[in-house]
Amino acid sequence: MAVSGATTASRAIRLVGALVVSALVAAGCGGGDDGTEAPNNGTATGDPIIIGMDEDSTGPGASYSTIAGKTIRLAVQDINDKGGVMGRPIKLVVENDESDPTKVPATLQKLGSQGAKALFLQSGSAAIMQAKATLTQLKLPAIAPTGVTSTLVDPPNNELIYMLANTTADWAKVYCGAFQAKGITKLGVLTDDTTTIAALNKALFGAMSCVQVTATEKGAANASDLSAQVARLKNANVDAVLVTSVGGAFEVLAQNTLASQLKDKTRFSLASIGNQPSSWKLANAGGLEGLIFMGSINQENPRTKALTDLLKEKNGDDYEITAYDAQAWDSVQLLKLAIEKAGGPDDPAKLNQAIQSISGYQATFGQASFTLSFSATKHLGADGLCGLSLIEFGADNKPKGPWAAYQPPCAPA
């Protein structure tokens, strides 16, 4: 018995020791504020207005969805601190569909069942396409803050969904202007394998007849090596390469490999890489130098400047504002405006009409004159091309400013 007791005690000590070590490891290696805390009621009183957020905290969309999600929380907290919407605080309920179209209906149903009056959809395009029918079924209006594919707000089932930024159709015009300015006729494409990018590629290249796509190479979104794909692009002797990806590790691996194996070719990318400062650190020294991406942050826009200051105050001086931040901020402000115009959040039809009545909203992204307007037939807010700008990366792997060779024309709205 004594032996058995000693063994049990020894085992218990070992177990406790292991748990203590685990706790120390967790304390030593983790913790901290990641900006995902739910906003509180601030100074607002009354029944909270529940807003649902489909945020990809994991999965291929996490690289951009979490940035927008963090700023949505900040905007909600800012509104609540200033007395809320019509005196009522906004309360966020959050779910995650991992940009998986098959998970979207259940995710939105869950948000609806938690009492959401409107939704923010920060998922991939393919997932949001799937969401449209569910929104109609739930009768909930929704804004896709980071959406850029025009089909998201095209019929059918587009009565309740809205987007802010210029779409891929506008991007195609801008890329074509750039290709013509640089005499680029043969384009190589390096793309990831996500459904989001497959949908985006279809929309983008379908509207880009100005250039011949002579080679398209695909890699897994979690690829560890792209040297074979880049070698094939090199063999195709293209004039320039356009990388289309959701960003994150794939994008930087692609740019590192291109910088190493295709040094003399002009590189273009979508908006993702410019909007993911954390990804820039993944790049090799000078790996992003000369890369041109589709940007929409312009510090000459006074609202962009104000949001930049606020974000730096909240997140630290080294915080780099992105279009995702600005679009997320504007999405919350637009919803607030719509709820006030509708006289409350409880009638979804009135709320939807209120969104459609917003006109000339001065955006926090794009150039100073860039505005957003909606109507029953215009569910894409961007008024003209002023929301876009081609930005070039410098040798320090940070955006250095507008690309000198070409910029989209910006007519007043």
């Binding site: 070992r14 177990l15 292991a18 070590v21 685990s22 490891v25 967790a26 030593g28 290696c29 983790g30 913790g31 901290g32 990641d34 905290s57 994991t58 996490a62 690289s63 979490t66 394998d193 190479e217 695909k218 890699g219 897994a220 979690n222 690829a223 560890s224 090596d225 040297s227 074979a228 794909q229 070698a231 094939r232 994150g248 590790a249 794939f250 930087v252 691996l253 190493s260 194996q261 954390s278 990804s279 650190k281 993944l282 090799n284």
Partner: protein, 291 residues
């Protein structure tokens, strides 16, 4: 197959797979089963290092030391709290332990996601010299370091197993745990050593490979599969078998998409795995036993 850059990429990938396979090999030899938590150990090594450097401005070497230490603790806990009790209760059964370590794999990934967050973090390079140019090709410092460490690790493990008492005990326990126990050999201690060294190897591999494409909390699963396939291909007949298996898989990973495009390497890897499972399940190197 004339592009030197592709050969260098294949070598880098091969070393990565080979190191993971070596970690598998040690647990397989010492404890007699596949420890599928090797990938998450590697993920923990890379992710914890990056997290400490980014969040706490810690020096890379200090962060790497803490990350390796944390991973070793995880490896020890896997043996002491999961595998050993499960095998004791199941009468030394292999399948329950395999299921248990598979659960550990996902538990570590969830734990890492909770602690470090889900976004991909940039890998931290221990090498600070400029990229090495070899003709038209370039080798990144982290890749060169991985190749060198792989060579050193395989030589060291080969010498350790052949010439040290613990190394010989490892083989004895692996050959027959029951017989080793009857002879009074320290079976539990030897098994624990196998887990600890595997943890060190996996953590170092993860932090050396992370600079190539970053690391996130979900990297562990695919790394586990890659290392496992390298063991399947290489076999367990020699300490060098995991390296051969890894290098072969690295070549498939790079050259198959070069000749067949897109994501054909996935089918290439699947084909290699199926061929080995079907026609040579013992791998390329078979352990020879004198009758």
């Amino acid at each position: 197959m004339t592009e030197l850059q592709l050969w260098l990429s294949a070598l880098e990938m091969g070393c990565f797979f080979g190191m993971l396979a070596l970690a598998y090999y040690l647990v397989l030899v010492g404890a007699g089963f596949f420890n599928f938590a090797i990938g998450p150990y590697a993920m923990m090594g890379g992710l914890c290092t990056s997290w400490l450097v980014i969040e706490y401005d810690m020096g890379v070497w200090s962060a790497a030391a803490i990350a390796v230490g944390a991973t070793v603790v995880l490896a020890a806990l896997t043996e002491l709290l999961v595998v050993r009790p499960v095998q004791r209760r199941s009468g030394g059964g292999e399948l329950p332990a395999l299921v248990a370590v598979a659960a550990v794999l996902f538990a570590i990934q969830q734990f890492a996601g909770y602690v470090f967050g889900h976004p991909t973090l940039p890998g931290q390079s221990l090498a600070t010299f400029d990229p090495v140019t070899i003709g038209p090709a370039t080798l990144q410092p982290s890749a060169l370091l991985l190749v060198v460490v792989t060579a050193v690790a395989f030589v060291a493990i080969a010498l350790w197993i052949r010439y040290t008492r613990t190394g010989r005990l490892l083989r004895a326990v692996g050959d027959s745990t029951h017989a080793a126990g009857l002879l009074g050999l320290p079976v539990n201690r030897v098994r624990l050593v196998a887990f600890l060294i595997a943890g060190v190897l996996a953590a170092v591999t993860g932090l050396l490979f992370a600079p190539k494409a970053g690391v996130n909390s979900l990297s562990g699963l695919s790394w586990s599969v890659s290392g496992f396939l390298a063991v399947v291909v290489g076999g367990t007949g020699s300490v060098w078998a995991p390296l051969v298996g890894g290098l072969l898989l690295g070549a498939v990973e790079v050259f198959v998409p070069y000749y067949f495009g897109g994501q054909s390497h996935v089918y290439g890897l699947l084909l290699v795995a199926l061929l080995f499972f079907a026609f040579r399940p013992q791998g390329l190197f078979v352990r020879m036993v004198r009758a």
